[in-house]
Homo-oligomer: 338 residues x 4
Amino acid sequence: MRGYKKPTASIIGASGYSGAELTKILLRHPSVKLEKLYAHTQAGKKARDIYPALDTDAVFESYRGAQDTDIYFLALPHGEAFSIVPQLADAGKLVIDLSGDFRLKNPKEHLKYYRKDKDAKAVLTYAMPELYHDAIKQVKAVSNPGCYATSIILGAAPFVKRPLKGAAVKNVNCTAVSGISGAGRTGKVELSFSEMSGNVRAYKAGMHQHTPEILQALDTDTIKPAFGFMFTPMIAPLVRGIYAVLNIQLEKQLPVSQIREHFSAFYRSAPFVRVRETMPEVQHVAYTNFCDIHIAESADNGLVVVVTAIDNLVKGAAGQAVQNMNIMLGYDETHGLL
Amino acid sequence: MRGYKKPTASIIGASGYSGAELTKILLRHPSVKLEKLYAHTQAGKKARDIYPALDTDAVFESYRGAQDTDIYFLALPHGEAFSIVPQLADAGKLVIDLSGDFRLKNPKEHLKYYRKDKDAKAVLTYAMPELYHDAIKQVKAVSNPGCYATSIILGAAPFVKRPLKGAAVKNVNCTAVSGISGAGRTGKVELSFSEMSGNVRAYKAGMHQHTPEILQALDTDTIKPAFGFMFTPMIAPLVRGIYAVLNIQLEKQLPVSQIREHFSAFYRSAPFVRVRETMPEVQHVAYTNFCDIHIAESADNGLVVVVTAIDNLVKGAAGQAVQNMNIMLGYDETHGLL
Amino acid sequence: MRGYKKPTASIIGASGYSGAELTKILLRHPSVKLEKLYAHTQAGKKARDIYPALDTDAVFESYRGAQDTDIYFLALPHGEAFSIVPQLADAGKLVIDLSGDFRLKNPKEHLKYYRKDKDAKAVLTYAMPELYHDAIKQVKAVSNPGCYATSIILGAAPFVKRPLKGAAVKNVNCTAVSGISGAGRTGKVELSFSEMSGNVRAYKAGMHQHTPEILQALDTDTIKPAFGFMFTPMIAPLVRGIYAVLNIQLEKQLPVSQIREHFSAFYRSAPFVRVRETMPEVQHVAYTNFCDIHIAESADNGLVVVVTAIDNLVKGAAGQAVQNMNIMLGYDETHGLL
Amino acid sequence: MRGYKKPTASIIGASGYSGAELTKILLRHPSVKLEKLYAHTQAGKKARDIYPALDTDAVFESYRGAQDTDIYFLALPHGEAFSIVPQLADAGKLVIDLSGDFRLKNPKEHLKYYRKDKDAKAVLTYAMPELYHDAIKQVKAVSNPGCYATSIILGAAPFVKRPLKGAAVKNVNCTAVSGISGAGRTGKVELSFSEMSGNVRAYKAGMHQHTPEILQALDTDTIKPAFGFMFTPMIAPLVRGIYAVLNIQLEKQLPVSQIREHFSAFYRSAPFVRVRETMPEVQHVAYTNFCDIHIAESADNGLVVVVTAIDNLVKGAAGQAVQNMNIMLGYDETHGLL
């Protein structure tokens, strides 16, 4: 990009953990200039006062409709992006929304899982680069996937999107451990250090709001899916990371080696997916945009255990958002992310 | 027991975490006198030098066949109890073995999972009080269940042991998070604080040695089980606790309320099992002998999510061992454990 | 106490961490019957709903002046005990107050550190058993020491209370690390797991409210102390424990061995103080009422490094309170605490 | 540097935590090309097999004297750099040694603290850029400071190097908490997660090997220092970071504001030192090359409390090493480090 003016970027909702991670990545990105940090609850404070590790003199501002940069990342609580995204899109801005507002095609599902009405037209390209690279390239506004959704979709997609002969998917049952930063920068008693140290707690079994976006991305009806689906999330005493164990029931047993090859082929052109021969660990992907995948076991009855690991704030949020921006801007997908 | 001499007890393998937990519980037990702590690797050291929180002046000794106390707890590495238990049993001692040596009826399974041959006769009553209370009462030597096994068997047994009409079990797929103390008091790089802080790591998916004892306790063949079974263990950054999520596929859907009542009825006389209406947490059971169970979800296709939590060192090891001792001695099951 | 009616006890402020720890200890205490748990913010809830590890069916109630038990523990926020203690004392109850309300003799100091006025008569015996055993035995109402204060006073008292010849104390400068439970059961962002994992943070250097009670217990004026005093507290990512490093400047160097003997002699009849020859660790005292002390170093210039460790919720709060109750009731000091 | 060949670099001792951190930083550095990773215990393994978060295909090799790159970083255990550094220096290479081998001028001190003899000539420029920037610029081989030493020297230097009138330093007594990564990538029982979770442990009070390098850098004799000095290190349950509390006794009291201005002036041209008005936290500096410093308190008797925080693996090791390399190569000091 030497000799050209760098595109400029803003973050709306910059004071949460995803916003701070976006700030960190964009400050280091060689081909984008981060200009504005919007965060109404922290307006007037220096970004550095809340995140002293960030190397910036920026001051948080309230967002009031400004459209003076080229790119907008929205890292707002669910429901707050509905009114902002259309205006930015109409103004021809590049928009990457990290909330759940524009993910679901079916407003009934949105109502069920987010408990909020939404317009049926409020849908953007679901920007998971490993599945929808070409579509992302052609649009100017996208919806960035959820963190759990990323870890689960990437672990199941090769079976669903490019099924192996005679091995259709019958059930996908997932258990995933998340780092506590997934709950946001918040002061709830049950998320305090004293309560969560030494603790593990599941929640929303079968009812987590990432369920419908996972099914939608796996090309099945979200209310009557073509295969059984159950997702149980839980939190454990770590800050970053999602570790997902998928029990996938196929119609027949396939050898682990064949599945591994299938996954490797499926993700051949996905620079951030690593199909590994050993068990993933959260620390292998923490602070990176990688998703590690391992085919852990294949049983007589066709059950396959797939294990995936990501950093919820990077591949599960800010990193994937920048990956999408790279694609939309025609940069190399990994630019500024390694 | 007032007026009678308290029975005396020894621990063989007292310097590991289960041994230390046994020591702590027995020192506080009102009706047993802990006399000897055997630990050959630490022989000559004071117990307090290794576990300063323990209130005892005892010195670790090497076990050389002594039979001078009434009760023997063995908390040895797998394979080391084979030669000791029969001698103690022959001498009429009360024996509670915490290893896997005497759990499996099928020597082939033992060979497969423990990689060691064993005699087909080396089997003791599988001492899970919630299932085999009467049998435990009638014997003088028992095999204490494994930690993961305890958390999984208790979550599945009501469906298998007392099936609900039309709702036979088709599959049991479990993911369980263990505290790192489950790996023992050991100096492996991959279990160091620097490697495990912020980390999660699965291991032995489908191949963990507790698999056959779970199936055996659930009354099915361990090589060709009557229902599909998959178990994926993992460790996360906590010291104590097992948190198990069981995805149990029944032949038809049952309402959560019916399952909960069924579980409550099944465990009516089990003082340490708490069928709860809210999600279990490790901290709810840490440092206790409780097993908390929650029926988290029941889906259209008959899938039920059961979540259980125990302290791996207490209900998963030392506490359950003392619970068994209480039963064998005719004490109240909870004596010294609340 | 067999044959006699057990004295009955209540806890006012039972839903915080100190209250829960008191509940746990008193439920196991062989010679006291815990009857009432008062906690106005949680009134109506079962104790077990908030602390499922507790083995009790008790329901939290609002305290409205009841005086139906023999003993009252007050574990209230600072300022809330002022009006309750006198009424209970007048009614002849045994009262152990865990707040700072009745600790300081000098109302000016109270105003300075607690920012609240207090009556000069609102002072109770400072119930540190290792220093004031006889006084505690003779009164019916006491003020239980603060957690940091306990760890620091016990590390300095032998030099101040029974000075070694020619080795008067010139300065006591302390740094202490506390577990996060010391901040109470609270939902502040800065105490969330995500903020405190991997973090250390000092606070209130030279201004912590335990400063004047430490000086008062060390027999010096709290405004113009006879020796320099500086205390810097900090929190680190652990739940329980206080670990204090005291740099004590004496007028001349004494050999470590002499100091150790002096400490051992000083604490000869203190069953919970262990003068140890190796470095204390928090895990050595966690979940116990012990205070471990080690004389770590003695330098040419007379500087001595003393390191102490306690569990802030046990020896630093609930355990010490029960130790005081034991003394006041004429029981063995360690009764129900080992 | 565009149009010029980038200088090439090697790391000898690349498989430890400092080596891995160096690898991460150098892979991202825009003006240096990392070519070789030497690590004899891991020779033959891919760097990615041990540190999967690293984005490199490099394979660890045994170092056998090769001199084919321009720059050499040595991150070896103490004692192993003695024989390598002189050869590289003679060959005109740029050498940055992270061990303690070349830090101390006085061989007696080296013998006392490292228990190894050394040649009186084995001394390199002590490469703390905030104190010795010009000297570092003029040499080709330097000794990188220790992690504790960095945090303590930076907190005391303004008082010693540029004393305030009438306020000479009488004593410097420090307590510092270190993350466990400071002990290296090792499998010791006492550093296991199970032993260190919830734990704090001091060690080597007054005897830590960074003591003499701190005194030497503060321009005083290391055996008979001009002021009292005591340093007590401890580890707590975090991976990264050093948090140092310095109790500095001056001859008279100075107001906090004056000291803060003095520090700000002293570090005016030090881009990585931040003299802050609020209390430092480890998370403010983790994964950065910053050293945060706060003047926390100043007491009547002249005692000043200074608190500093760094990341032990970055400013305390790899980051400072790259900062030194930048200076030696004539780059901007912060190049590749923000």
